[in-house]
Protein backbone atom coordinates (compact mmCIF):
# COMPACT_ATOMS: atom_id res chain seq x y z
CA UNK A 1 0.00 0.00 0.00
CA UNK A 2 1.37 3.42 -0.89
CA UNK A 3 1.96 5.68 2.08
CA UNK A 4 2.25 8.98 0.25
CA UNK A 5 -0.44 11.15 1.88
CA UNK A 6 -1.45 12.87 -1.34
CA UNK A 7 -1.87 9.56 -3.10
CA UNK A 8 -3.82 8.13 -0.17
CA UNK A 9 -6.14 11.12 -0.09
CA UNK A 10 -6.72 10.94 -3.82
CA UNK A 11 -7.45 7.22 -3.69
CA UNK A 12 -9.73 7.63 -0.68
CA UNK A 13 -11.61 10.38 -2.49
CA UNK A 14 -12.21 7.87 -5.28
CA UNK A 15 -13.77 5.49 -2.77
CA UNK A 16 -10.75 3.34 -1.90
CA UNK A 17 -11.45 2.18 1.66
CA UNK A 18 -7.99 0.66 2.06
CA UNK A 19 -6.48 4.07 1.42
CA UNK A 20 -8.90 5.62 3.88
CA UNK A 21 -7.93 3.03 6.47
CA UNK A 22 -4.29 4.04 6.02
CA UNK A 23 -5.29 7.67 6.63
CA UNK A 24 -7.25 6.55 9.69
CA UNK A 25 -4.15 4.78 11.05
CA UNK A 26 -2.11 7.95 10.57
CA UNK A 27 -4.55 10.24 12.33
CA UNK A 28 -6.56 8.19 14.83
CA UNK A 29 -4.30 8.98 17.79
CA UNK A 30 -4.65 12.71 17.31
CA UNK A 31 -8.39 12.54 16.68
CA UNK A 32 -8.97 10.31 19.70
CA UNK A 33 -6.83 12.51 21.94
CA UNK A 34 -8.93 15.50 20.93
CA UNK A 35 -12.20 13.67 21.56
CA UNK A 36 -10.94 12.28 24.88
CA UNK A 37 -9.78 15.62 26.21
CA UNK A 38 -12.95 17.38 25.09
CA UNK A 39 -15.28 14.80 26.66
CA UNK A 40 -13.20 13.27 29.48
CA UNK A 41 -15.01 10.05 28.69
CA UNK A 42 -13.08 7.25 26.95
CA UNK A 43 -16.17 5.40 25.71
CA UNK A 44 -17.75 8.55 24.34
CA UNK A 45 -14.42 9.58 22.83
CA UNK A 46 -14.23 6.28 20.96
CA UNK A 47 -17.73 6.73 19.58
CA UNK A 48 -17.01 10.30 18.54
CA UNK A 49 -13.72 9.26 16.93
CA UNK A 50 -15.66 6.79 14.81
CA UNK A 51 -18.27 9.44 14.00
CA UNK A 52 -15.53 11.86 12.97
CA UNK A 53 -13.93 9.41 10.56
CA UNK A 54 -17.28 8.44 9.07
CA UNK A 55 -18.05 12.13 8.60
CA UNK A 56 -14.63 12.65 7.07
CA UNK A 57 -15.27 9.82 4.62
CA UNK A 58 -18.60 11.32 3.65
CA UNK A 59 -17.05 14.74 3.10
CA UNK A 60 -13.68 13.75 1.74
CA UNK A 61 -14.67 14.71 -1.79
CA UNK A 62 -14.98 18.32 -0.61
CA UNK A 63 -11.40 18.36 0.72
CA UNK A 64 -9.47 20.47 -1.76
CA UNK A 65 -6.07 20.38 -0.15
CA UNK A 66 -5.84 24.07 0.74
CA UNK A 67 -4.80 22.96 4.21
CA UNK A 68 -3.19 19.78 5.45
CA UNK A 69 -5.57 16.86 5.75
CA UNK A 70 -4.81 16.74 9.48
CA UNK A 71 -5.93 20.33 10.04
CA UNK A 72 -9.13 19.70 8.08
CA UNK A 73 -9.78 16.46 9.93
CA UNK A 74 -9.16 17.89 13.40
CA UNK A 75 -11.49 20.83 12.81
CA UNK A 76 -14.11 18.43 11.49
CA UNK A 77 -13.59 16.38 14.66
CA UNK A 78 -14.12 19.40 16.89
CA UNK A 79 -17.29 20.15 14.95
CA UNK A 80 -18.52 16.59 15.45
CA UNK A 81 -17.78 16.74 19.17
CA UNK A 82 -19.49 20.09 19.70
CA UNK A 83 -22.47 19.09 17.59
CA UNK A 84 -22.83 16.08 19.83
CA UNK A 85 -22.27 18.04 23.02
CA UNK A 86 -24.80 20.70 22.03
CA UNK A 87 -27.39 18.01 21.44
CA UNK A 88 -26.44 16.23 24.61
CA UNK A 89 -25.77 19.16 26.91
CA UNK A 90 -28.97 18.92 28.85
CA UNK A 91 -29.21 15.18 28.62
CA UNK A 92 -28.11 13.36 31.66
CA UNK A 93 -25.35 10.90 30.87
CA UNK A 94 -24.90 9.99 34.50
CA UNK A 95 -26.29 6.53 33.95
CA UNK A 96 -24.09 5.66 31.01
CA UNK A 97 -20.83 7.51 31.37
CA UNK A 98 -18.27 8.10 34.01
CA UNK A 99 -15.35 10.47 33.94
CA UNK A 100 -12.32 8.25 33.90
CA UNK A 101 -9.10 10.21 34.13
CA UNK A 102 -7.22 6.94 34.61
CA UNK A 103 -7.77 6.26 30.92
CA UNK A 104 -5.41 9.12 30.26
CA UNK A 105 -2.66 7.21 32.04
CA UNK A 106 -2.15 5.04 28.98
CA UNK A 107 1.16 5.73 27.29
CA UNK A 108 0.79 8.29 24.58
CA UNK A 109 1.19 7.06 21.09
CA UNK A 110 3.25 9.60 19.34
CA UNK A 111 4.65 12.98 18.76
CA UNK A 112 4.78 16.04 20.90
CA UNK A 113 5.79 14.50 24.18
CA UNK A 114 7.92 16.65 26.43
CA UNK A 115 7.99 18.16 29.89
CA UNK A 116 8.22 14.84 31.69
CA UNK A 117 5.56 12.14 32.00
CA UNK A 118 4.72 12.93 35.63
CA UNK A 119 3.98 16.57 34.88
CA UNK A 120 1.92 15.63 31.84
CA UNK A 121 0.00 13.02 33.79
CA UNK A 122 -0.80 15.43 36.62
CA UNK A 123 -1.99 17.98 34.11
CA UNK A 124 -4.06 15.42 32.19
CA UNK A 125 -5.79 14.39 35.42
CA UNK A 126 -6.41 17.97 36.40
CA UNK A 127 -7.77 18.83 32.94
CA UNK A 128 -10.07 15.80 33.05
CA UNK A 129 -11.45 17.07 36.35
CA UNK A 130 -12.39 20.50 35.03
CA UNK A 131 -16.03 21.46 34.48
CA UNK A 132 -16.96 20.64 30.86
CA UNK A 133 -17.14 24.18 29.46
CA UNK A 134 -13.86 25.24 31.03
CA UNK A 135 -12.18 22.01 29.96
CA UNK A 136 -13.26 22.32 26.35
CA UNK A 137 -12.04 25.89 26.00
CA UNK A 138 -8.75 25.08 27.74
CA UNK A 139 -8.12 22.08 25.47
CA UNK A 140 -8.88 23.99 22.31
CA UNK A 141 -7.02 27.19 23.27
CA UNK A 142 -4.04 26.09 25.31
CA UNK A 143 -3.50 22.55 24.03
CA UNK A 144 -4.66 22.80 20.40
CA UNK A 145 -3.96 26.47 19.75
CA UNK A 146 -7.39 27.63 18.61
CA UNK A 147 -8.32 31.31 18.88
CA UNK A 148 -11.21 32.49 21.02
CA UNK A 149 -13.20 33.59 17.97
CA UNK A 150 -13.04 30.11 16.50
CA UNK A 151 -13.81 28.42 19.82
CA UNK A 152 -16.80 30.71 20.29
CA UNK A 153 -18.12 29.81 16.84
CA UNK A 154 -17.63 26.08 17.36
CA UNK A 155 -19.06 26.00 20.87
CA UNK A 156 -21.89 28.41 20.15
CA UNK A 157 -20.88 30.84 22.87
CA UNK A 158 -19.75 34.47 23.00
CA UNK A 159 -16.04 35.31 22.70
CA UNK A 160 -16.19 36.78 26.19
CA UNK A 161 -17.58 33.52 27.50
CA UNK A 162 -14.74 31.61 25.88
CA UNK A 163 -12.21 33.89 27.56
CA UNK A 164 -13.94 33.67 30.92
CA UNK A 165 -14.01 29.87 30.70
CA UNK A 166 -10.33 29.78 29.81
CA UNK A 167 -9.30 31.97 32.72
CA UNK A 168 -11.50 29.91 35.04
CA UNK A 169 -9.91 26.71 33.75
CA UNK A 170 -6.42 28.06 34.31
CA UNK A 171 -7.31 29.17 37.83
CA UNK A 172 -8.74 25.76 38.68
CA UNK A 173 -5.76 23.98 37.15
CA UNK A 174 -3.26 26.10 39.08
CA UNK A 175 -5.15 25.32 42.27
CA UNK A 176 -5.28 21.61 41.47
CA UNK A 177 -1.61 21.39 40.56
CA UNK A 178 -0.53 23.35 43.64
CA UNK A 179 -2.31 21.00 46.05
Amino acid sequence: MASDPTDLIHRAQQGDQAAFEALYRQHVGRVYALCLRLTSDPAQAEELTQDAFVRAWQRLASFRGESALGSWLYRLTVNVVFLHLRGARRRSLRVLTTDDPSALERPAGGEGESGGPAVALDLERAVAGLPPGARQVFVLHDVEGYRHEEIARLAGVAVGTSKAQLFRARRLLREALNR
Partner: protein, 204 residues
Protein backbone atom coordinates in the same frame (compact mmCIF):
# COMPACT_ATOMS: atom_id res chain seq x y z
CA UNK B 1 -2.71 35.37 45.99
CA UNK B 2 -3.52 37.38 42.87
CA UNK B 3 -4.74 40.92 43.35
CA UNK B 4 -8.53 40.71 42.93
CA UNK B 5 -8.77 42.83 39.80
CA UNK B 6 -5.71 41.42 38.06
CA UNK B 7 -6.75 37.93 36.95
CA UNK B 8 -7.90 38.92 33.47
CA UNK B 9 -4.91 41.16 32.87
CA UNK B 10 -2.43 38.53 34.01
CA UNK B 11 -4.02 35.96 31.68
CA UNK B 12 -3.94 38.40 28.78
CA UNK B 13 -0.36 39.21 29.69
CA UNK B 14 0.79 35.61 29.37
CA UNK B 15 -1.31 35.23 26.21
CA UNK B 16 0.46 38.22 24.70
CA UNK B 17 -2.79 39.94 23.79
CA UNK B 18 -2.22 43.21 25.66
CA UNK B 19 -1.11 46.42 24.01
CA UNK B 20 2.47 47.47 24.65
CA UNK B 21 1.36 50.10 27.16
CA UNK B 22 -0.89 47.70 29.07
CA UNK B 23 1.80 45.06 29.00
CA UNK B 24 4.28 47.45 30.57
CA UNK B 25 1.80 48.36 33.30
CA UNK B 26 1.12 44.72 34.14
CA UNK B 27 4.83 43.90 34.13
CA UNK B 28 5.50 46.78 36.49
CA UNK B 29 2.74 45.66 38.82
CA UNK B 30 3.92 42.04 38.81
CA UNK B 31 7.47 43.13 39.55
CA UNK B 32 6.31 44.67 42.81
CA UNK B 33 3.60 42.20 43.81
CA UNK B 34 4.72 38.79 45.00
CA UNK B 35 1.31 37.15 44.46
CA UNK B 36 0.86 38.37 40.90
CA UNK B 37 4.53 37.68 40.12
CA UNK B 38 4.07 34.06 41.23
CA UNK B 39 0.79 33.80 39.30
CA UNK B 40 2.49 34.91 36.08
CA UNK B 41 5.15 32.25 36.56
CA UNK B 42 2.51 29.60 37.23
CA UNK B 43 0.47 30.63 34.21
CA UNK B 44 3.51 30.53 31.97
CA UNK B 45 4.44 27.09 33.29
CA UNK B 46 0.86 25.89 32.78
CA UNK B 47 0.78 27.11 29.18
CA UNK B 48 4.12 25.46 28.47
CA UNK B 49 2.91 22.17 29.96
CA UNK B 50 -0.38 22.33 28.06
CA UNK B 51 1.41 22.95 24.80
CA UNK B 52 3.72 20.02 25.49
CA UNK B 53 0.97 17.48 26.19
CA UNK B 54 1.06 14.48 23.84
CA UNK B 55 -0.88 15.28 20.70
CA UNK B 56 -1.65 11.63 20.14
CA UNK B 57 -3.37 9.14 22.45
CA UNK B 58 -4.22 5.70 21.14
CA UNK B 59 -7.71 4.36 21.91
CA UNK B 60 -7.88 1.18 23.95
CA UNK B 61 -9.22 -0.79 20.98
CA UNK B 62 -9.07 -0.69 17.22
CA UNK B 63 -11.96 1.49 16.08
CA UNK B 64 -11.56 0.77 12.39
CA UNK B 65 -14.03 -2.11 12.28
CA UNK B 66 -16.89 0.10 13.46
CA UNK B 67 -15.89 2.79 11.00
CA UNK B 68 -15.53 0.45 8.03
CA UNK B 69 -19.01 -0.93 8.67
CA UNK B 70 -20.44 2.54 8.17
CA UNK B 71 -18.44 3.75 5.20
CA UNK B 72 -20.98 2.55 2.66
CA UNK B 73 -23.24 5.39 3.73
CA UNK B 74 -21.41 7.77 1.39
CA UNK B 75 -22.58 6.00 -1.72
CA UNK B 76 -25.62 3.89 -1.01
CA UNK B 77 -28.75 4.39 0.99
CA UNK B 78 -29.33 0.65 1.00
CA UNK B 79 -26.33 0.04 3.22
CA UNK B 80 -27.53 2.67 5.68
CA UNK B 81 -30.99 1.19 5.70
CA UNK B 82 -29.62 -2.28 6.23
CA UNK B 83 -27.46 -0.99 9.10
CA UNK B 84 -30.41 0.63 10.81
CA UNK B 85 -32.72 -2.28 10.26
CA UNK B 86 -30.20 -4.78 11.55
CA UNK B 87 -29.17 -2.70 14.52
CA UNK B 88 -32.69 -1.88 15.56
CA UNK B 89 -33.77 -5.45 15.14
CA UNK B 90 -30.90 -6.39 17.44
CA UNK B 91 -32.11 -3.79 19.93
CA UNK B 92 -35.60 -5.25 19.85
CA UNK B 93 -34.29 -8.76 20.37
CA UNK B 94 -32.18 -7.56 23.25
CA UNK B 95 -35.13 -5.81 24.82
CA UNK B 96 -37.08 -9.02 24.68
CA UNK B 97 -34.17 -10.92 26.16
CA UNK B 98 -34.08 -8.34 28.94
CA UNK B 99 -37.66 -9.19 29.72
CA UNK B 100 -36.89 -12.86 30.30
CA UNK B 101 -33.35 -12.86 31.61
CA UNK B 102 -31.69 -11.79 34.80
CA UNK B 103 -29.47 -9.07 33.52
CA UNK B 104 -27.21 -7.72 36.25
CA UNK B 105 -26.81 -3.95 36.46
CA UNK B 106 -23.72 -2.71 38.22
CA UNK B 107 -25.35 -0.49 40.81
CA UNK B 108 -24.88 -1.73 44.34
CA UNK B 109 -28.11 0.05 45.20
CA UNK B 110 -29.92 -2.83 43.55
CA UNK B 111 -28.59 -5.26 46.10
CA UNK B 112 -28.52 -3.14 49.23
CA UNK B 113 -30.88 -4.58 51.86
CA UNK B 114 -33.43 -1.97 52.73
CA UNK B 115 -31.65 0.47 50.44
CA UNK B 116 -34.81 2.26 49.50
CA UNK B 117 -33.17 5.65 49.27
CA UNK B 118 -30.36 4.40 47.01
CA UNK B 119 -32.82 2.56 44.83
CA UNK B 120 -34.98 5.65 44.55
CA UNK B 121 -31.94 7.62 43.38
CA UNK B 122 -31.05 4.98 40.80
CA UNK B 123 -34.62 4.96 39.54
CA UNK B 124 -34.73 8.74 39.38
CA UNK B 125 -31.47 8.79 37.40
CA UNK B 126 -32.81 6.38 34.82
CA UNK B 127 -36.12 8.17 34.53
CA UNK B 128 -34.54 11.59 34.21
CA UNK B 129 -32.02 10.39 31.62
CA UNK B 130 -34.72 8.74 29.56
CA UNK B 131 -37.01 11.76 29.77
CA UNK B 132 -34.28 14.14 28.66
CA UNK B 133 -33.26 11.88 25.80
CA UNK B 134 -36.87 11.53 24.67
CA UNK B 135 -37.18 15.32 24.66
CA UNK B 136 -34.02 15.65 22.60
CA UNK B 137 -35.06 12.97 20.16
CA UNK B 138 -38.40 14.72 19.73
CA UNK B 139 -36.61 17.86 18.53
CA UNK B 140 -34.10 15.99 16.37
CA UNK B 141 -36.36 13.35 14.85
CA UNK B 142 -36.76 15.34 11.65
CA UNK B 143 -33.15 14.57 10.84
CA UNK B 144 -33.81 10.82 10.79
CA UNK B 145 -35.48 8.87 8.02
CA UNK B 146 -39.20 8.25 8.68
CA UNK B 147 -38.66 4.49 8.61
CA UNK B 148 -35.86 4.89 11.15
CA UNK B 149 -38.10 6.91 13.45
CA UNK B 150 -40.79 4.24 13.11
CA UNK B 151 -38.32 1.50 14.03
CA UNK B 152 -37.01 3.42 17.02
CA UNK B 153 -40.53 4.06 18.26
CA UNK B 154 -41.52 0.42 17.77
CA UNK B 155 -38.51 -0.71 19.81
CA UNK B 156 -39.23 1.86 22.50
CA UNK B 157 -42.76 0.51 22.83
CA UNK B 158 -41.33 -2.97 23.40
CA UNK B 159 -38.91 -1.71 26.04
CA UNK B 160 -41.58 0.46 27.68
CA UNK B 161 -43.76 -2.61 28.02
CA UNK B 162 -40.90 -4.42 29.77
CA UNK B 163 -40.48 -1.42 32.09
CA UNK B 164 -44.20 -1.30 32.85
CA UNK B 165 -44.30 -4.99 33.68
CA UNK B 166 -41.26 -4.88 35.94
CA UNK B 167 -42.54 -1.72 37.64
CA UNK B 168 -45.88 -3.38 38.35
CA UNK B 169 -44.10 -6.43 39.74
CA UNK B 170 -41.96 -4.18 41.93
CA UNK B 171 -45.04 -2.46 43.31
CA UNK B 172 -46.24 -5.87 44.48
CA UNK B 173 -42.82 -6.84 45.87
CA UNK B 174 -40.78 -3.65 46.45
CA UNK B 175 -37.82 -5.30 48.16
CA UNK B 176 -37.19 -7.92 45.48
CA UNK B 177 -33.59 -7.40 44.26
CA UNK B 178 -34.12 -9.50 41.14
CA UNK B 179 -37.07 -7.37 40.08
CA UNK B 180 -34.97 -4.26 40.65
CA UNK B 181 -32.32 -5.72 38.40
CA UNK B 182 -34.90 -6.43 35.73
CA UNK B 183 -36.36 -2.95 35.97
CA UNK B 184 -32.92 -1.31 35.82
CA UNK B 185 -31.85 -3.46 32.88
CA UNK B 186 -34.94 -2.49 30.89
CA UNK B 187 -34.47 1.18 31.68
CA UNK B 188 -30.81 1.02 30.80
CA UNK B 189 -31.70 -0.52 27.46
CA UNK B 190 -34.17 2.29 26.85
CA UNK B 191 -31.56 4.92 27.62
CA UNK B 192 -29.02 3.13 25.43
CA UNK B 193 -31.41 3.04 22.48
CA UNK B 194 -32.41 6.68 22.93
CA UNK B 195 -28.82 7.76 23.30
CA UNK B 196 -27.88 5.91 20.15
CA UNK B 197 -30.76 7.37 18.16
CA UNK B 198 -30.15 10.93 19.32
CA UNK B 199 -26.44 10.63 18.66
CA UNK B 200 -27.04 9.47 15.11
CA UNK B 201 -29.68 12.17 14.62
CA UNK B 202 -27.44 14.94 15.85
CA UNK B 203 -24.51 13.75 13.78
CA UNK B 204 -26.43 13.12 10.55
Amino acid sequence: MICPDMEVKLNEYVDGTLSAAERALVAAHAAGCAGCHAAVAELQALLAAAGALPKSVQPSRDLWGGIAARLGQRTTGNVQRAFWTGALAAAAVFAIIVGISRFLPPSTALHRPGGGQGWAAVTADYEQSAAELVATLRTERGRLRPETVALVERNLRIIDEAIRESRAALERDPGNAELRQLFAAAYRQKVELLRWATRVATSS
